[in-house]
Each structure stands twice: as C-alpha cells, then as structure tokens.
C-alpha cells in the first residue's frame, strides 16, 4: 500500500486530505468527527475578532451533484469563544490548522497570535472569501495587500502560515508569489468562485446575500489550473482545494503540484465518510501506477510539459 503521509511546511500529515475551512468546522465535536473519519488534518471555520451570525438564510443552493453555491457570511463565534472547540479537537488527537479572517494586517496578526495559543499546527489566512464585505477577496485581491498581511502574521506567530488564495483574480499565481515574499510557508488554492443564483418565479437572487461562492466538482478544473500555475511560480508547497471528491481528483491535484489537499463540498454529498474512501482510492491509484510514496507524485505532470 502506497505511503500517503506528507510533510507540509514542517508539519507531518498522516495523509494529504485536510478538512476544508467552513465545513464541519464550528464545533470541536465535528472537527474530531472529521479526524476520526480519516482526515489527515482539520482546518477550522474561519474565525474573526467578534461573534458573527453570518447572513440570513437562504445561505446555500445546490446544483445536482456538481456544484454548491453558498453565502454563509463567515458566521463564527469569535476568537474568544472558539478555543474550546479547538481544544476538543486536539483532545481527540487531531492535527488542527486554525483559519482566521480579518479586515487588515493588524487584525490578522492578532487573531493568528491568539489562535496559535490553542496549539494549532499552522494558521491559514482566509484572503479569499468572495462574499464577505470588508474581508476575504476584498483584502486579498492585490499582491501588495497579500504580502503585507502575510508578513504581519508571520512576525506574530511561530507556526507555519498558510495563505489561502482567491481564484477571482486575473493572476492568482501572482498572489501566491506575494504570499511567498511575505513569508508564507504554504499557499492554499482555491477558495470559491464568485457566483449567483436567480429564482425566476420570485424575480430575485436565491441567496439572502445575493452573491455567493461556487464550490464542488464544477470548480475542480479551475482549481487545477490555479495550482498548476502557482506551482510553477513559487517554491513553497501548494495545498490543492476545489471539487475533490475521488482519489482520482486528488491525484490530479497532486500531479498538478499540490502537496496536500482540502475537501469541503464532497462532505455535503457523502458525509465525512468521504475521507476514508479518499484515502483508499488514492492509495489504490498510486499502487496501480506503481508510485510508492505520494510525495513522489507531487508536480509529476509538469515534467512532460516544460
């Protein structure tokens, strides 16, 4: 059986499949549940300075099995309340990565510092939520902003800092380069695509917030392109995310350049049992291809295409 373990920015992961931020991430019990189901690590819901209820419902729309639109609006209990959830997950033995979002570099740095104190293995910066005013893409679309925020956070914590990049940009790889310059230990790509659903009977957007973010199978080809381009332009490891639902999807991301992966929407369609299945499928694929260690496959598709 192929070795699925990977080292990501100094953190040893038992397998590459991380729970993506925002899915099963509000409660410690859920984080533990994803870990127990076989995730290689769990990323928390993105946490901010104060409690945020998020947008009113409807917050989601589903497209058959290939897509999910959401505008949750970054609901979270705030950094003062959240540590107990992380502690619960850590007690269950989970490798936890803390995700935070802020409006400027000071807020990011403070939140990262606070979340570091809970013993997380790394901090991920949400620079890429496409539907939260004043946060996410609004602070993560310009390379200078990304660099400045990452630099401020890197100064304030010891754990590795991961920048999560938006695909809603002319040049996502340029944002990854900026994160690298700022000192990021890794980048995650991608967050959701800015998107919208309309109800024609009611003549209005379906989601209460109007615009939302598209995730799921539909965005896999877009995520692969981002990972591919980023891999060619930075030296730090890339975490692939977007539409992963099978071991084949996973290996495509790995060969495009990802060293670890995140899984979100697939949980909507199959629960966290998806982690067990993904491990099995990926391992089978590697065996079939005669690849002994997952790490040997990272970026493999670039050799043929220089």
């Amino acid at each position: 059986m192929a070795d699925l373990g990977v080292r990501l920015a100094g953190v040893a992961l038992r397998n590459p499949f991380l729970l993506a931020s925002g899915i099963w991430g509000e409660s410690g019990a859920s984080l533990s549940g994803a870990w127990n189901a076989g995730a290689g690590g769990v990323i928390t819901k993105s946490i901010g300075s104060t409690p945020r209820p998020g947008y009113p419902n409807p917050t989601i729309e589903v497209y058959e099995t290939w897509g999910l639109l959401n505008a949750m609006g970054l609901p979270n209990p705030g950094i003062d309340e959240y540590p107990r959830e992380i502690e619960a997950a850590r007690r269950a033995g989970a490798t936890v990565i803390g995700s935070v979002f802020g409006g400027d570099e000071e807020e990011f740095a403070r939140l990262a510092h606070q979340i570091e104190a809970t013993g997380v293995a790394a901090v991920e910066l949400n620079l890429s939520c496409p539907h939260a005013e004043g946060f996410g893409t609004e602070v993560g679309s310009e390379p200078e902003d990304v660099e400045r925020i990452v630099r401020a956070v890197v100064r304030s914590v010891r754990v590795p800092v991961i920048a999560k990049i938006t695909p809603n940009a002319a040049d996502p790889a340029g944002l990854a380069e900026a994160a690298e310059r700022g000192g990021a230990a890794a980048v995650s790509a991608i967050n959701t695509l800015r998107a919208l659903a309309i109800d024609v009977t009611l003549r209005r957007p379906v989601l209460a917030h109007g615009l939302g973010g598209l995730s799921g199978a539909a965005i896999k080809p877009v995520g692969l392109a981002c990972v591919w381009q980023i891999y060619r332009r930075v030296k730090i490891p890339v975490i692939g995310v977007g539409g992963i639902r099978t071991g084949l999807d996973a290996l495509e991301y790995i060969m495009a350049g990802a060293r670890a992966l995140q899984v979100g929407t697939a949980i909507t369609f199959g629960g966290v049992a998806v982690f067990g299945r993904l491990n099995q499928e990926l391992s089978d694929r590697l065996d079939q291809l005669g690849i002994a260690r997952l790490e040997d496959a990272v970026g493999a598709a670039h050799a043929a295409h220089l």
Binding site: W24, S30, L202, I267
Partner: protein
C-alpha cells in the same frame, strides 16, 4: 433545488399558531422537515405537520421575528421549499405514548395518525400554557388517539406540566415507545421518567439550521448534525452529550445555555 409554491390554505390553530398548506410532491415521512423560505425574509426549518400525498403542511408558532411573519401569510403567497430532510419516526411500536409540548405537537401529529392507521394504540399527553394553546387535540382525537391534557394554568386537563402527566401514565400503563417533541427540558424529563421503566424515548430536537445538508455545522449537537442525523434521536444518544437540554448554538456557532 428549491421549489416555489403558493400557500393554498391557512388554518389558525391557536392564537399563536398557524398551519400553512401547500402543494409539494416529494414524498415525506412523519419526523421529517422542510426548509421554508419566506422570500425577502429568512428560511427556517419546519417539521411537516401534514406528510401525506401532494398537499403538505407546516404548523408554525410565533416565536421571533420570522416565525411571527408566518402568521401573516395568506392564501396565494409564494414560499420556497426544499426537502424533506432528516430522519423519521420508527412507526412499528404498538403501544405508543406521544408527548407534545407547544408547537412540538406539529411533528408528532402525522406520526400518531400513521401509527393509528396501522392499528397501533396511541396515547397522547398534550401540554400547553393554557387551553386555547393546545395544538391538534381535536385532530388527534379524531384520528383515534386517547388524548390527555395538561395546562400550566389548569384551564383544561391537569394543572401543571405535561411531564407530571407522563409520569403518572408511566406508573399506570406500559408502552413500547415514547415519541416526544417540545422544549428540551421537557424532553429530558420525559427521558428521565421513562428510563427506569426501560421504555425507549425518541425525541425530535431543534437546532439553528442553515444548510440542512450536514455540512455547515450550524446544527451541531454533540457529535451529531441534527439536520441529517436527526431530528429524531433516541434519548440515550442525546443524554450522553454535554449539550442536550443544556446548550444550543446561536447563529454564530456560539454555545449558549438554554
């Protein structure tokens, strides 16, 4: 994934409770819920109080802002629906005690009706603040259930909480199962009363819901997601959590005491 339908009928059940009927074809079972969207306002989980055939219904008690708005909905108003979601009551037990508090009876009524239609013997213990807030008393009697009543002010039936009524029923009679829905404190007391008798208790619980797809974590209750693992749970599953009857989560995910 949403269907927009027009409300075809509204029934004022109690001064604070209204039933909306609407055409909705997807098959449903007692215990399941739908997400009901009032365009321009909010979308709330509501148990189906009518599950049979194409004309389904929900029964809503005015609590906060949005549920209050349900009371002003009229015939012809468009609402959005998705679902049904969640699990269902196991309807196989023969002698069933149904314990409903407040709007909790909404989800129990169709379960009782279907059990009765299959020949079960159903006793209903119905609680409310006062007589005119008793939900579905006549509907349940008409279906063939024995209905016993408790009101806080004694305006009908026993004075006091419905849990007292349950204890005395459990003393006198044997049941194969208890189905209950209402305030968690009430359900937790019902579970405590039934436990020494070895009668399994099934509770329909509520948590704040957003996705209803087991994904967003809004409805987390201990290790469960109420939207997909519930809303119906065996009481022992719930009492082993730290949350049941003690904490729920507000829309931000913050754990708050009941």
């Amino acid at each position: 994934m949403r269907t927009v339908v027009e409300v075809t009928e509204t029934v004022v059940e109690t001064p604070s409770t209204i039933t909306l009927r609407f055409p909705y074809e997807p098959p449903a079972d007692p215990g399941q819920f739908v997400m009901v969207w009032i365009p321009g306002d909010d979308e709330l989980p509501m148990s189906l109080s009518y599950t049979e055939g194409g004309s389904k219904g929900v029964t809503v008690k005015a609590m906060g802002e949005t549920s209050r708005r349900f009371l002003s909905l009229r015939r012809g108003t468009p609402i959005g629906l998705r679902g049904p979601y969640g699990n269902r009551f196991d309807l196989s037990p023969h002698r069933v005690l149904v314990v409903g508090g407040g709007s909790g009876t909404a989800v129990l009524a169709p379960a009782a009706e279907r059990a009765l239609a299959r020949g079960a013997f159903v006793t209903v213990a119905l609680g409310a603040t006062r007589a005119d807030e008793l939900l579905f008393r006549d509907r349940l009697r008409a279906a063939g259930a024995r209905v016993e009543v408790a009101t806080d002010d004694g305006s009908e039936g026993t004075r006091g909480y419905v849990t007292a009524l349950v204890s005395s029923l459990l003393e006198r009679e044997t049941f194969d199962a208890i189905w209950t829905c209402g305030p968690e404190i009430m359900m937790s007391k019902v579970a405590s009363a039934a436990s020494p008798k070895g009668v399994p208790v099934f509770c329909s619980v509520e948590r704040h819901m957003k996705c209803a797809l087991g994904m967003c974590d809004a409805c987390a209750l201990g290790p469960y997601h109420v939207c997909v693992d519930g809303p119906v749970f065996r009481a022992d599953r719930l009492t082993s959590t730290e949350d049941f009857a003690r904490f729920h989560r507000d829309p931000s995910g913050r754990r708050v005491p009941f």
